[in-house]
Amino acid sequence: MTASRAAAMPSPQCAVLRSRFPATANDVSIQLARLHRAFDATGLRLSLQHDVTIVLGEVLNNIVEHAMTDIGAAWVMLEVTREDGRLHVETTDRGRPLPPALLASVDLPEAKLPIDDLPEGGFGWFIIHTLTEDMVYERQGGINRLSFSFLEQADEG
């Protein structure tokens, strides 16, 4: 992009998907399928669509599995928006706070092991950290807010 009007005049925020849904694994599947259809209309590059879908699957399932266990009828809010050349994703929920250790860093489970000793879990947060650079977590007034974003254009080089 040359010295552009986009830089001088920030583009308005544009929603790709906004929804509120029950915190269940089935509803996560439904929302990811909705996102897939919503992405079709955007023309965003496929690798970006894939990364967002992979990360969001892990984030939402983590909310369902860990943050909500003791709370019935819990809801999750999801917002995917485009602004200033970035795709922004934000989730909010009223579940338990996230363990701080998860947000710092996570080791990849060991893959060079005999079959019987291979891990069947522990991949989720590793995937999230590997694919995102700017994950922010806030806890305020009993609400968890996770947000992250991706550059719409691939980095060159």
Binding site: T24, A25, N26, V28, S29, L32, H36, L46, H50, D51, T53, I54, G57, E58, N61, V64, E65, L108, P109, A111, K112, I115, D116, L118, P119, E120, G121, F123, G124, F126, I127, T130, L131
Partner: protein, 111 residues
């Protein structure tokens, strides 16, 4: 999950008819495959052609299925799509399964 089962020589091929292996379906998927692989002691391949999405729970289910095979048998995966490959590569589990570009087309139905 609907799964088609057929045998080609020494190979049991399970073709998944759904488009996702995720947290919502990982447990029933694992159970369905468990029933299909019992009493079969040769190679097992899952045809992933239709799978558009795999999450970490689905990946865990694939590992659990490989453990069900017992002994030194590695689970084989055929025709993994872009997202599936990305998840396998990121977690380095692409070295744990045996990956094929495509499943053999021959074989008799073993339903």
């Amino acid at each position: 999950m609907k799964i088609e089962r057929r045998i080609a020589d020494d190979l049991l091929i399970l073709t998944l008819q759904d488009t996702r292996i995720d947290a919502a379906g990982a447990v029933p998927f694992k159970e369905a495959v468990r029933q299909m692989v019992q009493d079969f002691d040769d190679r097992v391949m899952i045809d992933m052609t239709r799978i558009e999405f795999l999450d970490s729970s689905g990946l865990g289910a694939l590992v659990a299925i490989m453990k069900m095979l017992g002994g030194a048998r590695r689970l084989e995966l055929a025709n993994c799509g872009t997202i599936v490959r990305k998840v396998l590569t990121l977690t380095r589990m692409d070295s744990v399964f045996i990956l094929h570009d495509a499943a053999p087309t021959a074989g008799r139905s073993a339903a």
